[in-house]
Amino acid sequence: MLENVKVILEAVGSFFVLYMMTYSTFLLLSVVVGSSVLYRNKQMADLHNEIKQDYYYPVTIIVPAHNEEVTVVDTVRSLLQLDYKLYEIIVVDDGSNDLTAQKLIDAFDLRRVHRPLQRQIACQPEEYIFESQAQKVPVVLVRKKNGGKADALNMGINASRFPYFVCLDADSMLQADALEHIVRPALSDENMVACGGMVRIANGVILENGSVVDYHLPNNILICMQILEYDRSFMASRLLLDAFNGNLIISGAFGLFKKDIVIAAGGYDSSTLGEDMELVVKLHVFCRKYDIPYTIRYAADAICWSQAPATLNDLRKQRRRWHLGLFQSMWKHRQILLNPEFGVLSYFSFLYFLFYELLSPYIELFGLITVASAFALNLINLSFMIWFFAVYAVFGAVLTMTAFFARIYTQNAKLSFSDVVKALLLCLLENIGLRLLIAFVRMTAFIGYRKNKMQWGKITRSKLNRI
């Protein structure tokens, strides 16, 4: 009996070693490729390898908002400061219960118009539309019946007048050159149907006229760890996947899309929580199905500053929403899995998201149970196990550090000595603390799924740091 258990535990142990090695190798690849892309981008910018125009393509910025009275005016003000000539701003108020719409009407002297909208994508009906032509660019407010974020974005697409649109969260701010940077790839790559921007955490940053004037790591340790996590897990992995057109996610906080192709693909799916990921996966499927040459790009120099959850409860809500969205998107497009038609997208990106994002909390839980069982049966080499996990944790921390400093260096951000020390210490803590916490949140994400699956999933907002 004990022999059988021993064999099973050994097999499970080998699986986990392989699982962790694969993940470490993916992380290593991400950080190495991501860092080298960032260094190359910096070299190219220093050597004026960039498309610099007076006029780029006209773009509609769609800001879906639900109960965003605290930040929405600041967001629109920051959008009016962009270094870009041809754009319009459309705020879609998705049936807010607060003063979101009124604050906008007052702040920008919006006037009611009777604008007929072209319903190219189904969405909840509008209640009223306000416009202003008195700002630098047209500002439009569409107030509609509540239907969720995806529904609000679809309304924004219907109201949009330009061939490209950007989706932007109402609590986010764009750097002054962000729109220019996210549009540039469309000029160098005519097949580009979508481009993700780099979402960075706004807490601790002070912006003046769309430029960073002060950058420091915030005092809140939870936010600091998210900053490190963003650099390692999101930025680096997206740069790696971008190398072979394999990105499955463009953050809903900031992304550019070619409107006609999004409309042809059916727009955002209002029935999913992860409408941002679902749209990108859908674009992959749609373009391959109809043999449309396409690329989905990632512009690391197009920077959007977004607020991170500052409390454990808000973080839990956010990650739960992300995990459910991931599940819904992957389930809906499960035909990609191990499908040769999708090539690397299927065998690399999709498998990575399946095993190391969607299923990872359960696999890790199974691993912990196995370790506990082996320990109880005295079948484990404790010192070896401690060594193994220590090396794994240090390895992760070193990669985080590399990604963080690569980003800091290539974006010319200046850090104080205390921030450098803080970052070094938190790299380790993030890897063993935040990661486990998030794993737990993901594991429990499906509790209450049916009841809450269509809610906006709000987190507490605070005023953005602008001068």
Binding site: S14, V17, L18, M21, S24, L28, V31, Q43, M44, D46, L47, H48, N49, E50, I51, Q53, D54, Y55, Y57, R111, V113, H114, R115, P116, Q118, E131, S132, Q133, A134, L187, S188, E190, F384, W387, F388, V391, Y392, V394, F395, V398, L399, M401, T402, F405, Y409
Partner: protein, 377 residues
């Protein structure tokens, strides 16, 4: 196969050490290179300054310093220092700096041969400098122009764009067309908007450039042809009779025809009116893009049949046709009484669209008035 875990662990420890070393070295390299860029390169800066001082004193530049520059600027970092040192004076159009750059042209001609063998990133930077320094003469025998024409067919979009801009700054229409032909020969497709915007930045005679581009029009590929039409429309040259066959020929490419229609929206041409009207009224729903553009450009052809057709189009099945027709009617300043049948009619689509365009136009006028009042104050 059994995995030797100790080996794996040691391999990962080694990787950690390598990454840490990489981070530390990189930080040190950054500090060092920044320091060198700001405070180093004294000899190079000194050499440049000596020559600038000589020019200010009315002397000519020294040959031996130019020979030194040739060697020094082969290094990319030195080239960057050179550019950085002169950039402020260049942006202020300091005549001494401009004269020094002109006199340094032989140095750049020497460098051009070397940079042709470098990576595309470096070639793009070299092209950028040639453009900034306006060193291309555009003449057939000019070495830098030849090199830029060569770079214009690079596979790097940045190198192409910088090289093209260097050629546009030469003011030579022949050089521009030679660059376009070189791109086509190498089967390089450059973005239509970049080409059209580039033509607009041309430093020479636009009529000459347009003429030479039109001569070669049929030999160009679609993106260039579109760029040529967009360019001629933007500078509003009279190509009405030249473009007309493209408008009436049924075999003309759709994008070309739409571009030509837009041209006639900006430049009035009486014979085009009937064709545009026919397009609006007789094309099928599947050809809605033609009809939508026709509805928009007919704003430039105010006449009874046009107004009647636009009013009818307010109730068109296609949203864009309705939208553009209402915009055209508003742009024509058609009075309320001429549109009363639409306002009082049963067609809600037509009424709403027209009302919205009137509201929108009023908001724009109010905004303009507010700006002008603020300006007067």
């Amino acid at each position: 196969m059994r995995i030797n875990l100790e080996v794996v662990i040691f391999a990962y420890i080694a990787l950690c050490v390598c990454m840490l070393a990489f981070n530390i070295l990189l930080i040190l390299y950054r500090i060092l290179s920044e320091y060198r860029f700001l405070h180093g390169f004294r000899r190079l800066r000194g050499a440049i300054q000596t020559q600038l001082d000589r020019l200010r004193a009315g002397d000519d530049i020294e040959e031996k310093q130019q020979i030194y520059l040739r060697k020094a600027l082969l290094q990319l970092t030195n080239l960057r220092v050179f550019y950085s040192y002169l950039s402020e004076g260049l942006s202020l159009k300091d005549p001494v700096i401009l004269a020094y750059i002109r006199k340094s042209k032989p140095v750049f001609e020497f460098l051009a041969g070397r940079y042709q063998r470098e990576s595309e990133i470096k070639q793009a930077y070299f092209a950028y400098l040639i453009r900034k320094y306006e060193l291309c003469s555009g003449e057939k025998s000019d070495l830098l122009t030849m090199v830029m024409i060569d770079f214009a067919a690079s596979t790097s979009v940045y190198c192409r764009q910088n090289a093209l801009q260097a050629i546009y700054s030469s003011g030579s229409a022949a050089a521009v067309v030679a660059a376009i032909r070189q791109m086509q020969k190498n089967k390089i497709v450059h973005n239509t908007k970049l080409i059209a915007d580039g033509f607009l930045a041309f430093a020479g005679d636009h009529a000459e450039l347009a003429g030479i581009l039109w001569q070669g029009f049929s030999g160009f590929r679609l993106p260039v042809q579109l760029a040529v039409i967009q360019y001629i429309r933007a500078i509003q040259l009279d190509y009405r009779s030249e473009f007309f066959p493209l408008l009436i020929n049924q075999r003309t490419d759709k994008e070309i025809k739409l571009a030509v229609m837009r041209y006639y929206g900006k430049i009035y041409y009486e014979p085009a009116q009937d064709v545009l009207l026919q397009t609006l009224t007789q094309f099928t729903n599947n050809e809605w893009e033609y009809r939508a553009v026709a509805a928009s450009v007919l704003a430039n052809y105010q006449s009874e049949p046009v107004i009647a057709a636009l009013k009818k189009s307010l109730a068109d099945e296609n949203w864009y046709v309705r939208y553009n027709a209402s915009a055209s009617l508003v742009a024509m300043n058609i009075g309320y009484f001429d549109l009363v049948d639409v306002y009082n009619g049963r067609d809600r689509y037509a009424r709403e669209m027209l009302e919205y365009k009137v509201e929108s136009s009023r908001l724009i006028s109010e905004a303009r008035e507010a700006v002008s009042r603020a300006g007067k104050r």
